[in-house]
């Protein structure tokens, strides 16, 4: 799927009446019940709500990691749910980045090797991938830690590597699932500073699932969910596309 050029401030993620249910042990759990929402390019949005309200499911379905039962999801104007698996995967490799709570780095690879992985699967040459990977690690402040494996890094450093990995292919959208959930407050603040800076300088869209009010408070907007439904929104600070675009 070719990425369509979308201007900053234009809708980049559109969900309409999305339904998703899980079946397990004879029970059917309605994880999403008719979720509709729009996120604009360059916007930084938090999804919050109690445990089990469907936040992660929403993130997974919007990013194409999981299927939906009904509804419509458009990313950069393209309907993502109907794409074949390989096309969806290639699209993720080129246009999306992911930051998870438990970092989910590959323990057998060094920091630089973890970061360059999305580039390599997108067909970027090894030398270019290494160069861009180093640059991205430098941007998150880990230039000297490139050869270290995840086990040799602290929690905060690991999450920085994860962010570098998420951003290395310059994605249009970065998805974060509790990106600070496993960090202490100092590290959590540093990570959020970094995310906010990247959002402002690169006009990348961030969708962050979180329990942390502090994290939510640093986003432009907070979407609140309960029982698989969106029950409200808070605009923390104004989203000014022109400012982001010029940055």
């Amino acid at each position: 799927m070719a990425a369509s050029p979308i201007e900053v401030g234009a809708p980049i993620i559109e969900a309409t009446d999305v339904h998703k249910a899980y079946q397990g042990d004879g029970n059917v759990v309605q994880a999403l019940r008719g979720v509709s929402m729009t996120i604009r390019k360059g916007e930084m949005v938090a999804v919050m709500g109690p445990s089990g309200c469907g936040k992660t499911t929403l993130l997974n379905t919007l990013s194409g990691l999981d299927s939906i039962d009904a509804g419509l999801i458009r990313i950069e104007g393209q309907e993502i749910a109907t794409l074949p698996d390989n096309a969806k995967t290639d699209y993720r490799a080129r246009r999306m980045g992911f930051v998870f709570q438990f970092y989910n780095l590959l323990p057998v690879l060094s920091a630089i090797e973890n970061v360059e992985l999305p580039l390599l699967v997108s067909g970027v040459s090894p030398s270019q991938a290494r160069e861009r990977g180093r640059a991205e690690l430098a941007r998150v402040g880990l230039a000297d830690w490139a050869a270290h494996r995840p086990a040799q890094l602290s929690g905060g450093q690991r999450q920085r590597v994860t962010i570098a990995r998420a951003l290395v292919n310059e994605p249009a959208i970065v998805w974060g699932d509790e990106p600070t959930g496993d960090l202490d407050s100092v590290n959590a603040n540093e990570i959020m500073d970094l995310i906010q800076e990247l959002n402002e300088t690169k006009a990348q869209t961030f969708v962050i699932v979180t329990h942390d009010q502090g994290v939510g408070g640093r986003c432009h907007r907070v979407i609140r969910m309960v029982d698989g439904q969106i029950v409200g929104e808070d605009q923390n600070r104004p989203f000014e596309p022109a400012a982001v675009a010029s940055a």
Partner: protein, 1155 residues
Amino acid sequence: MNEIFGLSMDTLMVVIVVLLALIALSMGYLALRNPLFFRLGLRNIPRRRAQTLLIIFGLMLSTLIVSSAFTTGDTLSTSLRSQAIEITGRVDHLVQYETTPGRNVSQAESVVPQRVADDLKAAFAGDERIVGFIRALNDTASMRNVDSGQQLALSYLLGLDPAEADAIGGIPGAGGGQLSLTGSGPDGIILNATAAQELAARPGHQVLVRARGVEHPFRVVGIAKDTLVSGEIDLLNPQGGVIRLGVAQEIFGLPGAFDAVGVAVVGGETGALDLSDEIDEALNVFLRDQAIAEVDAGTPPEERVYADRLDRHIFESTPLKQENVDAAETFGSVFTSLFLLMGLFSIAAGILLIFLIFVLLAEERKSEMGIARAVGMRRGHLVQAYLAEGLAYNVGAAAVGTLLGIAVAFLMVGVLNSAFDAALGFTFDRHVEPRSVVVAAGLGIVLTFITVAISSLRVSVLNIVAAIRDIPEGAIRERRPVSISGLVTTPLGLALLWTTPLTMAGGGLLAGALPARARERLGGWLYTPAWQLMRRRQEWWLTCTLVGAYMIIAPSDGGSAFVYLGGLTLGPLGLLLTARRFGGARIGGPGLPASWAKRALLVPALPLWAALTGGAWLLRRLGRRYPTPGRTAHTVVSAVVLFFWFAGGWFHEDILGVDVEGGPELFFLSGAAMVTAGVILVIVNLDAFVLLLRALGASIGRLRPVVQTAVAYPATAPFRTGMTIAMIAIIMFALVTFTTINDNFARLFTSDTSAGGYDLVADADRDSGIDDLPASLRAAGAGDLQAQLEGVSRLSFGSGNGTDIQLVASQAFDDFNEALVPGPDGEPYFEPAEDAGLRQLFLAGADDGFLAENDVVLQARAFGYASDRAVWEALRAPAPDGRRYAVITATAVADSGGFAPIEETDFKLPETIREFTEQIPQVTVRLSNSAREAAEEVTIIGIIDQVVGIAAITPGDIRPTLITHEDVVFALYESADTVRHFARSAPGFEALDTAQAIEAALQLETQSIKDELEQQQDTFNAILGLFQGFTAMGLVAGLAALGVLAVRAVVERRQQIGVLRAIGFRAGYVRLGLMLEMGFISLIGLLLGGGLALVLSWRLFEEGVFGSTAGADFYIPVGRLLLFFALAIVATIVLTYLPARQASTKTVAESLRYE
């Protein structure tokens, strides 16, 4: 089958049943005492059904191997036993002329006179145990059926007295009932079934029997079963016929004489075996008493019947049936032992698989085990739970393994049958003894129980915090100080481990008498004190090092190579343990600080260390830094162990001065030791392979990250990767060594060199009257066949019984057995032999044609002879002192391994001449024939090659044979017992066609040497193929381990797979990655096992350990090895595809959710 490895099967069964009872009792006791832990173990079984199946599969492998080996042994023993009993029929004992040094006479002279038969009959007339005596005269003859036109170049003609034959039950008919010659005239002949089939003969047909150049007409009066009394004298050539004794004596020119007196004992075909010993004793006592009486009576030697001129008894009784039955038992037992020896590799792989499975099980349950320990479960309780679980798998696996083993054996018997049927016309009836089933199943259970017990002990050692948090053990484990008491208790416990079954039983009894509190306090010490002692404060490093050092120095000259080489393996590994204990050289540990242990280890390996350091520097220069703690110590030790195994005689014998001897058990030890060392070497240096593969991955674009992750994972789990590599490598090692060595010798054996420069060979015995082949062809009206032949020549064998020989003198060798010692005249000094006794060998005389034209290869020549041809030329003329020269077969060399002389009375060369001596001293011997009081001295100047030379001269014969000029033979014997004719095919003619034409013209069995050797090799190959298939079964264990690893990887890495999919790995990449990873492990195992095997095979071949190689180049059977590799890789793909597919088809979100 009654014995295995020299152990009685009955004893083995009793021991195993006792061990089973002890296991059952101890487990029953534990179940009653702590039912909760027992239930805990059992309830784990249904948790993962696929895994349970895999575990049972792994556990059953040992039982399967043992069961199939035993069943094959039972089948062979039972079939051969029945055949031996059927063939010997009612002839239970034979009284014959005993040939021995000092009494080696020609076959015509080694007969039994009528008086002996008469005396025997008279002496045992009232003995109710003896049914009757039967005199027999036997020799070879050719036969032609006048009615059908079919002929037999070689058959056996047996003369029996009809009345005596009838008295012991007659001659068993082919269609049932008994046949007799009583009613037939002197021209009556009973053919056995094989002869009748080959001659297309029926009763009433006329058969012309040719013996001693004369044809005698006979009429077929009946067709008998193939048995001894119908002329089945030779199992390989069973065709024969029986005629009246008087007629046979007339034909063979031996009036009143016979070869043997058969004795029939009461009890029928099988019952006589019970009386075998006592009848044999009675007969021999009688024969010896007669000899003593003759000597005591002062009977002059020329008038004696029972005693020779040296006052020794001449005739001897042998328990024919018992010997044949024993031989059948031995054959079955040897075959089973060989299968078990090859099966050891599979059993080892199976044990590793069990160990791996339990370690993976423990890893899977790590956090729950941690919690269980946290809430109060002791380590022993965890062991009990695992033992209960293991025993449940074990019993199921033993049952399945035993039955599958029987099925596999029956399949193998089918393969054997096709090989034996083609070569010998004989097939085996499938059979399994209940005792073998009990032993196989019991052995499987005991072996597996021990493995499970050791695995359980290993996995129960865990750090509770690390287990609960699911973090690596090493991250928390602390180093404990060296325990002085542990240095004593560890080896002491190990030495007393054998008492465990006894102490378990004793502990059970004592437990009842002790108060509960005392029982509680004693704990495991009550039941397993040796085990507790050994495990108390483990200090293995010193034990291994000291035991290894002792094993190296303990064997004296001619001692056990197994002990010595075992020490050379254990000693360095002990040093490695020392380095790990003090230097922290644990793989994945904190690194190797400079300690005395490390330094001591490094001193002898500085060059290697320099190479490694250089390699590390190079890696750094290339910008590659991979942490590999403990690399140096592990690399050095494993390389040193490999060096010890690869180093040949130049190191062990010439430098270390070690002289040890080993048998087939070294094959397994070499595999186990080399694979262990190889795996350590590979695992600590896996990053080098990873670099290589990553470099390859760089050129395949988008697949690079797939390769990158696939090769990275194995390096991060050294234990499980190493175990799996070991399983595959050890089986590949066995397969490749076996195949390579066999193929090299098969090539040698069937090469042109083996034929000695000839294409055709024909054996003519004394009775055929053919001692001049061209003349005989002309006389038979087939003179034109001469045009098809070139270089016709012959070897005349003086006596088919052997010739007396005595060592006279030999040139003196220096202390190093390398140079001759000169005498006072400056010439090589001949040292007279002291107390050289009379020995025997076969003597062959070559005509000038043979000496001038043969290309028979020599493995050693006397000093001064530049080539094999020079030696053969020297045999043509007498030496200046009038003596003739001679060469001898390698079977006369005292230490010629498997080809060594087998009889105590066989001639052996002086011990200064060794298997690998290429230049030998001249040896003078005296040959004599006591019957004619003739003697000749000859000087041995060459040794015929034991592989390619012997094949040409004495195919299939492993007794020593001396070849000299035929003048010597005819000076000792009036005529030759056998003449072996040789010839080459003239250009344009096929050897096989010419052989058939000669056979038709002369009724003389004639063979194409090459075709005959190839045919022998084909049969041999079929049997070897069976061994290969049997060994390859073990590969299944290694491949199953890959399946287990793949399943485990999918479970462990589910989240990581989710991340990979999220960041852009296609499903196919995930699948490919996992399969590549397993393929990578498989490939390393295959290359390691195959590589070690090829290097070892090359070394063994070049050193001639299995026999001389006559300068042939080492050959690598590339095609077959590639086939093994391809099959293993395909199996890897098949086994890992399903888990890989499972991993790739999970939805990304589902994978990410997994914890």
